[in-house]
């Protein structure tokens, strides 16, 4: 081929990119309803195929063997992990995928730096590349720590870092300073490695102090970071598909971060600056909490009787349900209750679990009908008419201190008002406090009975007892 074919023209490739990002937007706009979401996701997938094909048309494309190796390795890892991951492990999966995306961007920025022989003085290329390197690297390392916490490779509770925020600010200044030196004409590769190293330490230290219960905010933030760094890489590489896709992901992560923080009545900085539950506030709240009252424990048989004679039961699932993989057992129990004429609803707090929408996915996996899943605002008016609230491994999202005790660390957080129902059964592994390390007066409320043990085992026992009634 001697002359440039039409399909190698920049204009043609860019036109294909327009098709690609149109498909992303159309696809995502169908993820607004469970009925059209499957199709929407596939449409976005077609958009990705168009984007990749368009990129292959780049004139001067080469290194095909290496490209093939990368594509094959990625596919070989991606397919089995997507097929095998358990729904309860979705937060880890999403954290890992965020990290992988951020890592790719940091590597691309570094490779571009080398391609330009360290000359990033063209600021419209240099600035976005430095931004992509910093944010991509923070996202990579932060996501890995989030993954390790969720997978319980390291403790889920906050880990205090000496120097805290100030150290993080210094690290950020260090990374930016290396970047500025490069932009002003220094072309030493060590400076670029400096950016990556400072950002790597920052990513680690930024997530380490954040407790398990704040994970929905952290995962959403890292998601936004990866998106924004992709958009920055798109500006540097003059690639509209990267820009648009990156900004959509950035917007999505930002919206989710904001919603999760609101659902905890906390500002985004207060979550990200960390240490919830590990700090002094929680320690101070401790002695005046649950130790004042007595805990009443119950048996599966008694709980079954209570549930069987109720008119309405509201199930409040939390992270504990995910941990013990109890969603299918819960669905079985709710079926048996419905056969007995009991109305069963599920109350989903926006931050229940470890990521946005975590509980909904688990209950959908267990075939709980869509219309039984109620959002917080929808269900809170109904607890007054509810005979039994069954709390399965949820803690902080039911803590009445959030309404009534101004010195509580979670004061002001919107909660599910389970204490307004006639009686409450709490399924819990032991009397230890929740991830936030805060006592929950709900457990010593005279209306409340505790059923200790593994959630899945307890629910299975209740279902068996229901059969005997």
């Amino acid at each position: 081929m001697l002359a440039t074919s039409f399909y190698q023209e920049t204009a043609f490739i860019n036109a294909l990119y327009i098709v690609a990002f149109t498909l992303f937007i159309v696809g995502l706009s169908q993820v607004t309803s469970p009925l059209t979401a499957v199709r929407g996701n596939r449409i976005a997938g077609y958009g990705m195929v168009v984007a990749i094909v368009a990129t292959f048309l780049y004139p001067g494309a080469g290194n095909w063997v290496l490209i093939a190796i990368g594509l094959i390795v990625g596919t070989a890892i991606g397919i089995p992990s997507a097929r095998q991951v358990k729904m309860t492990a979705m937060p880890q999966m999403v954290a890992l995928f965020n990290g992988v995306g951020g890592g790719a961007i940091a590597l691309i920025a570094w490779a571009e730096f080398r391609e330009y022989n360290g000359d990033l003085t063209t600021l419209e290329i240099g600035i976005p590349l430095v931004f992509a390197a910093i944010v991509g690297s923070v996202s990579f390392w932060g996501s890995n720590i989030a993954f390790a916490k969720l997978q319980e490779l390291i403790g889920g509770s906050p880990i205090k870092v000496p120097g805290g925020v100030y150290l993080n600010i210094l690290l950020l200044i260090g990374a930016v300073a290396c970047g500025v030196l490069i932009l002003t004409g220094e072309n030493e590769e060590l400076l670029f490695i400096g950016i990556l190293v400072f950002s790597a330490i920052l990513g680690n230290l930024f997530v380490l102090p954040i407790g398990g219960a704040d994970m929905p905010v952290v995962i959403s933030t890292l998601n936004a970071f990866t998106g924004l760094s992709a958009a920055a890489a798109g500006i540097a590489l003059d690639n509209t598909a990267l820009i648009v896709a990156g900004m959509i992901v950035g917007a999505s992560g930002t919206i989710l971060t904001d919603q999760m923080a609101k659902a905890m009545n906390r500002t985004i900085p207060s979550v990200l600056l960390g240490g919830f539950g590990g700090g002094d506030a929680a320690a101070a709240a401790g002695p005046t909490g649950a130790e004042g009252g007595t805990v009443r424990s119950t048996s599966a048989a008694d709980a079954a009787i209570q549930l069987a004679y109720a008119r309405q039961v509201v199930v409040v699932p939390g992270y504990g349900m995910a941990v013990s993989q109890a969603q299918h057992a819960v669905r079985e129990m709710s079926k048996v209750l419905e056969e007995k004429g009991v109305e069963v609803k599920f109350a989903i707090h926006p931050v229940a679990g470890r990521m946005p929408g975590h509980m909904n996915v688990l209950l959908a996996e267990a075939d709980v009908p869509y219309d039984q899943l109620k959002e917080m605002d929808e269900i809170n008016g109904e607890f007054g008419r509810t005979d039994v609230s069954l709390v399965i491994g949820a803690n902080d999202v039911t803590n009445p201190d959030a309404r009534s005790k101004p010195d509580s660390p979670i004061y002001g957080m919107p909660i599910l008002n389970v204490d307004e129902s006639s009686s409450v059964i709490v399924l819990k592994r032991s009397m230890s406090s929740g991830f936030a390390g805060i006592d929950n007066p709900l457990f010593v409320n005279p209306k409340t009975a505790m059923l200790f043990g593994d959630a899945k085992g307890s629910i299975t026992d209740i279902t068996a007892e229901l059969g005997n009634l």
Partner: protein, 105 residues
């Protein structure tokens, strides 16, 4: 691939102001589209956005086309593999999840 094609299309960059305009508008489009996603679908939304930020694969490819030293190439093979994990894994796992929501209706 000959050098003529390279020369004829390595053309001038899109003006930075145009790229910034696209960036800002895309941010608004993203904001309005994603705002409509209900809480129930937030987990599949996140995994779908994981898949979409797999678009970084394009960056890896473009950089690889012109890469010539071994270390750069090695970094880019990893970046391409990472991007592909995002795309393949993200879309598949989202599809799996969304099917669970669909079969209820």
């Amino acid at each position: 691939m000959d050098f003529l094609t390279l020369a004829s299309t390595s053309a001038e960059r899109t003006p930075i102001i145009t790229l910034l305009a696209i960036t800002v508008l895309a941010g608004f489009v993203g904001f309005f589209v994603i705002s409509k996603v209900p809480n129930t679908l937030h987990t599949p939304l996140m995994s779908a956005t994981n898949a979409i930020h797999g678009i970084v694969l394009l960056g890896g490819l473009i950089a690889m086309f012109g890469a010539d030293d071994a270390l750069t190439k090695a970094m880019l093979v990893v970046a391409i593999a990472f991007g592909m994990i995002n795309i393949v894994g993200g879309f598949l796992v989202t599809d799996r999840m969304l099917e669970m929501f669909k079969k209820k209706d």
